[in-house]
């Protein structure tokens, strides 16, 4: 039983680390700030949650604390990304030339006109 939990914990930790690595790769490869935020947010959220779940399997006594930390990350991670993206857009951050529509910029211009 104990070794099974340790095995599951190990698998979860490796999976979490893999998603965090992909997130890091996304930060390097994505062309502009918005796409980078996208890569960063999703990968760090799932990667951290999987890592926390893995630790919970290895140290069951910490499970409740780890669950609270996970809940905290679920609420704060997207919020900080949202604030960063909003600030970047308002500050006129450069967008990748691939970018098609930008309804937010359209509406802002409409307000000024």
């Amino acid at each position: 039983m104990e070794s099974l939990l340790a095995f599951i914990g190990g698998v979860l930790l490796v999976a979490g680390a893999a998603f965090l690595l992909l997130g890091g790769l996304g930060l390097v490869r994505m062309p502009d700030v918005f796409n980078r935020i996208q890569a960063g947010t999703k990968a760090t959220t799932l990667g951290t949650l999987l890592s926390l779940a893995g630790i919970a399997c290895l140290q069951p006594a910490w499970a409740l604390k780890l669950a609270l930390i996970g809940l905290f990350i679920l609420f704060t991670n997207p919020l900080s990304s949202h604030v960063l993206a909003r600030a970047a857009h308002r500050g006129g951050a450069e967008k990748s030339p691939l970018t098609g529509v930008d309804r937010l910029a359209d509406d802002r211009r409409g307000d000024q006109a």
Binding site: F19, L22, G23, L25, G26, R29, M30, P31, D32, F34, N35, I37, Q38, A39, T41, K42, A43, T45, L46, L64, K65, L68, L74, F75, N77, P78, L79, S81, H82, A85, R86, H89, K95, S96, L98, T99, G100, V101, D102, R103, L104, A105, D107
Partner: protein, 165 residues
């Protein structure tokens, strides 16, 4: 929002968190926790409350469970989708910022919707203006408001509408 019931609930939640995170029932730990929870309750009594704004009906609780399951599925999908894009040598992107509309009225419902959108496949909430949300989309399928709303918002909205209105 500033009712005694809500403030008591907020205080109890904060104090509960403190005790759980400390894992100790020593007198000084509890005293610091009581003071901190009390001050935070006073300072933030007008802020959002995840628990006390939830409608406590059986339907809302079932919707909450459904929401969590749907959200977990979308979070995994979003990561696999991103992994596919990042690992592909061609980096298949078609980014853009689209505008969608929500029928949710409550502050809590809109907050959770915006957060959920950020964590689901290829979408990131950039700004909110009343019922309008501006979403950065890694692979824009349709810039049309109706179509984008159906693709991005509707899945979560069905659950959140029952939970928070």
């Amino acid at each position: 929002m500033t009712g005694t019931r809500d403030m008591t609930l907020l205080f109890a939640t904060l104090f509960g968190f403190w005790v759980l995170l400390n894992g100790s029932l020593a007198g000084d730990v509890l005293l610091v926790g009581l003071i901190a929870a009390f001050l935070i309750t006073l300072l933030f009594r007008n802020s959002l409350a995840v628990v006390s704004e939830l409608r406590m009906t059986p339907r809302a609780l079932i919707a909450a469970v459904g929401y969590v399951l749907f959200f977990a599925r979308e979070l995994v999908k979003s990561n696999l989708n991103l992994a596919g894009i990042v690992l592909s040598p061609a980096l298949p992107l078609n980014p853009g910022i689209v505008k969608v509309r929500t029928r949710l009225k409550s502050r809590m419902g809109r907050l959770l919707l915006a957060n959920s959108i950020t964590l689901t496949p290829g979408t990131l909430t950039v700004d909110i203006d009343g019922e309008w949300l501006y979403i950065h989309w890694v692979t824009v399928d349709s810039a049309d408001i109706e179509a984008a709303t159906a693709a991005i918002v509707s899945g979560f909205e069905d659950y959140l509408e029952v939970m928070y209105g």
